[in-house]
């Protein structure tokens, strides 16, 4: 697939997922932002495949299950680190959010460490790399069990 067709596919995915407003928001930078997003998504797929021996396909997910796939094509995905993209995909696959450690200090670096648990019981850790990685927290579903907060799932914002 050529770079041009990859950009077209992403443009269509943004449209289908209700994020087409991004293109207008990006304005004159839209083409370069699209091109960078394509590169980032390729990097994500390659790194994910290297780690887990299977290639993720967010476009296929969007096609087969638009409501679920939409969560991946929101603006936050395009500004967070590769590590967080992998974390998102693992949650969307079915991992549980076991632990979130978020340390913020106005005068120091922010630290975000998320531990997931696979359906098979293995734990995986993902550390934020960019200041904007905290945005993933906005998409976690939240519920309660006996007054205890349970974070689960990764969903599109309204």
């Amino acid at each position: 697939m050529t770079d041009s067709s990859k950009q077209d596919r992403l443009r269509k995915a943004l449209d289908v997922s209700g994020s087409a407003w991004l293109l207008e928001y990006w304005g004159d930078d839209a083409e370069s932002r699209l091109a960078q997003a394509v590169v980032d998504l390729d990097d994500f797929a390659c790194e994910y495949e290297r780690r887990f021996s299977e290639r993720p396909d967010p476009f296929e997910l969007l096609e087969s299950d638009p409501i679920r796939g939409k969560a991946f094509f929101q603006i936050d995905t395009f500004v967070i680190s590769l590590e967080m993209k992998i974390m998102i995909w693992r949650i969307m696959l079915g991992c549980e959010i076991l632990r979130v450690e978020f340390r913020y200090d106005m005068e120091d670096a922010t630290d975000l460490l998320i531990t997931l648990r696979t359906p098979y019981g293995a734990e995986e850790q993902y550390r934020g790399k960019r200041s904007r990685d905290f945005r993933v927290l906005r998409h976690f579903g939240a519920t309660e069990d006996n007054e205890r907060l349970i974070l689960q799932g990764y969903y599109a914002l309204k």
Binding site: R68, A142, T143, Q152
Partner: protein, 139 residues
């Protein structure tokens, strides 16, 4: 069909309801077994894939485990398998002003694990309804 209690929730239709439900139920029933309402044969094995189950239709059953699924299949509702199955109906009714869609959970009674499961599902959908939204999308 199973008597008991109907709980009607109002949910956003841009949130994957089945994803939310299975995550909540799995929290309490890690060996859950699910069955589409239209399915004839019973799926006796717990989910083996990392993917959460993806029901084909708007109605499906979730059993606590394989034993519960077998019991329901063979005998229907009995005192022994009480509260080991949740019947989910993704409804078509819609609230006029909010646009939220109905979702009905049918269970034996709201006690024990079932109470916690239903409460957890309700809290999860409540959070998504009350969640924030981007200004650009709010207009």
């Amino acid at each position: 069909m199973i008597g008991g209690v109907d709980v009607v929730l109002w949910v956003r239709d841009d949130i994957p309801a089945t994803d939310v439900i299975f995550r909540c139920v799995r929290h309490h029933w890690p060996k859950l077994v699910f069955q589409d309402a239209e399915e004839d044969s019973m799926p006796y094995s717990a989910q083996s894939s990392q993917w959460l189950p993806r029901p084909a239709g708007p109605e499906f059953f979730i059993y606590r485990d394989e034993e519960a699924a077998r019991s329901w299949d063979a005998q229907g509702a009995t005192p022994d398998n009480a509260n080991t199955m949740l019947y989910v109906i993704l409804g078509k009714r819609r609230q006029a002003k909010t646009g939220l869609k109905s979702l009905t959970l049918v269970c034996g009674d709201l006690t024990g694990d079932m109470r916690r499961i239903v409460d957890e599902i309700a809290a999860s959908f409540r959070d998504s309804v009350e969640g924030l939204r981007y200004p650009a999308e709010a207009a």
